[in-house]
């Protein structure tokens, strides 16, 4: 069984927000809902600035699922965390537990009126038999069509990768190995040799982790 994962290579992300736009377009999310966002740290500081694209990470031991009062989340065979909007009461607990700020709400009103939670589905739709309804409620189901998430597909620098964890990890590891030489490949920040080794090691660990996680 494939274990789906995102991977964002901060060395490549240029904060173009293409993934954000692609997601919005693929899933036609409600006004105010943005399933993916790009966070830039040390903005404007030359040599230090990094950007990272974040959405739901489809956690292995998902905190949102653990606190949801209606238990409306469910893991799929691909290791995705999806949820059932029919049972969602909009209490916001998932947002309070999620490390990545992934759950989104259409409103933030008096008496705790938030509407139904919406978050990244890894472009895998949701629990709805009728495809039209499914698309309305949960957005595109690209996985069923054999396609990968649109955010990653549209990434101009291929910083954002999405797919089978092992494959994604392999691609990344290969990249880091080539990047190890100065002035080579796509790196915006220059590395000392030792650091590159560390990165390669991280990548190897990651590849190992990915094959381990179920």
């Amino acid at each position: 069984m494939a274990r789906m994962k995102f991977l964002c290579d901060s060395e490549r992300c240029i904060e173009c927000n293409g993934c954000v736009t692609a997601c919005k377009n693929a899933n036609e999310t409600e006004w105010g809902i943005q399933r993916r966002r790009v966070v830039t740290l040390d903005d404007g500081e030359i040599g230090k600035e990094v950007s990272i694209s974040v959405a739901c990470m489809h956690c292995s031991d998902a905190p949102c699922m653990a606190v949801c009062p209606t238990d409306c989340f469910y893991p799929t065979e691909d290791g995705l965390i999806l949820h059932n909007k029919d049972a969602c009461i909009g209490c916001g607990y998932c947002l309070y537990a999620c490390p990545f700020g992934a759950p989104q709400f259409p409103k933030q009103g008096a008496f705790g009126a938030r509407g139904k939670m919406d978050k990244c589905t890894f472009c895998a739709g949701g629990p709805e038999e009728d495809p039209v309804l499914e698309e309305q409620k949960y957005g595109a189901n690209r996985l069923r069509e054999g396609k990968l998430p649109l955010c990653a597909e549209m990434c101009s620098t291929k910083a954002l990768l999405a797919g089978d964890a092992t494959e994604v990890a392999d691609i990344f590891r290969e990249r880091v190995v080539y990047r190890g030489h100065r002035n080579n490949a796509w790196s915006s920040v220059e590395h000392e040799a030792a650091e590159s080794e560390q990165l390669a090691k991280n990548a190897a660990d990651l590849a190992y982790d990915a094959t381990q996680s179920v």
Partner: protein
């Protein structure tokens, strides 16, 4: 007849007890700790060590997203909240509620109902005015509704969800949340009215001190003296004031998220709200027991407003004397 009555009452208590105790093991089930760090590490491996250090400590940056807290890459507090709520509040609350019911049941079985020592005189004294009773039952019924809906939010997924079809489950939870969130502020108003109306009866004095020394007359022989309210009732009143207002204020913070509260604020107030409301519920079981099953003749006071003279003399002798003196003069 009376015998049947108490058998039925005991059964009702035991069933309630069983339900609460059954909810317990489910909530105490071992829960694995979340590992956001590993999760993030897997998905952002290209990062450098110092950047990584910042990220896992909850550093904020810049983003185009407007959703609350979007500029923070990793919110570290979420894990702690999950742990406190799922590993402390849930099981702790079940233990408190179950323990309270268990203690009451044991007390009932060992000590039994406090009976009237002298036969009813048939003469009635007014104890609670129409206003008093209106406020009491307004707050009490809202309390029960808020308790049932609140407990559903906290516990129902452990025992209701497995037995209900998804559509019924979803409808019940949506109703519970909306009922809870709309009636909560009304409960707050009722509590305020109650505090204003009854404050004057509830200052402690030497009589209460002696009442406590004698254990409220529960242990040993002879009834300690008491005025209009005894020490125990005053303690319950002040619990409503302090714990009740904590529940109300924390509830209001949660109920109106439209003032831009951060996620961290909401986590804190959810913990305060759940903790204080569970404490209040555990104490309320005791109050309900004493006011109904536990004391012969107490319930009719809050129902009709009047108590029998022999009840008044037995439980609130000083108040009885004062009322008698007033009517004589």
């Amino acid at each position: 007849m009376a015998r049947y009555q108490s058998v039925r009452d005991i059964k009702a208590w035991l069933i309630l007890l069983l339900v609460v105790l059954m909810a317990l093991p489910a909530t105490v089930l071992a829960q694995q700790g979340a590992d956001a760090r590993r999760e993030a590490f897997q998905s952002m491996p290209g990062t450098q060590p110092d950047f990584w250090r910042d990220a896992v400590q909850g550093v904020s940056g810049r983003t185009q997203s407007n959703s609350p807290g979007a500029d923070t890459l990793i919110m570290v507090e979420g894990e702690r909240w999950r742990e406190i709520r799922n590993q402390w509040i849930s099981p702790g609350g079940a233990i408190a509620l179950g323990g309270s019911l268990l203690a009451i049941t044991l007390f009932y079985l060992l000590v039994g109902k406090v009976k009237l020592e002298h036969p009813r005189t048939g003469r009635k004294i007014e104890r609670w005015t129409r206003w008093d009773r209106t406020i009491h039952w307004f707050v009490a019924s809202l309390f029960i509704i808020l308790a049932i809906t609140g407990l559903s939010i906290l516990y129902a997924k452990w025992f209701l969800m497995p037995i209900l079809p998804t559509s019924v489950w979803a409808a019940w939870m949506t109703a519970a949340k909306n009922i809870h969130n709309y009636l909560g502020p009304l409960f707050g108003l009722g509590v305020l009215a109650m505090i204003i109306k009854w404050l004057k009866h509830n200052f402690f004095n030497m009589t209460d001190f002696k009442w406590f020394l004698k254990g409220g007359g529960i242990v040993g022989k002879g009834h300690p003296s008491a005025g209009y309210l005894n020490g125990g009732e005053k303690v319950w009143f002040w619990m409503i004031v302090f714990v009740g207002l904590t529940v109300v204020i924390s509830g209001l913070v949660l109920d109106f998220p439209n003032f831009g509260q951060t996620r961290e604020t909401m986590q804190l107030f959810l913990i305060i709200h759940a903790g204080s409301s569970l404490l209040l519920m555990a104490a309320a079981f005791g109050h309900i027991y004493i006011g109904t099953l536990g004391t012969e003749g107490a319930f009719e006071g809050m129902k009709t407003g009047y108590v029998d003279e022999s009840w008044a003399k037995q439980h609130h002798d000083l108040w009885y004397d004062a009322v008698k003196n007033k009517t004589k003069s």
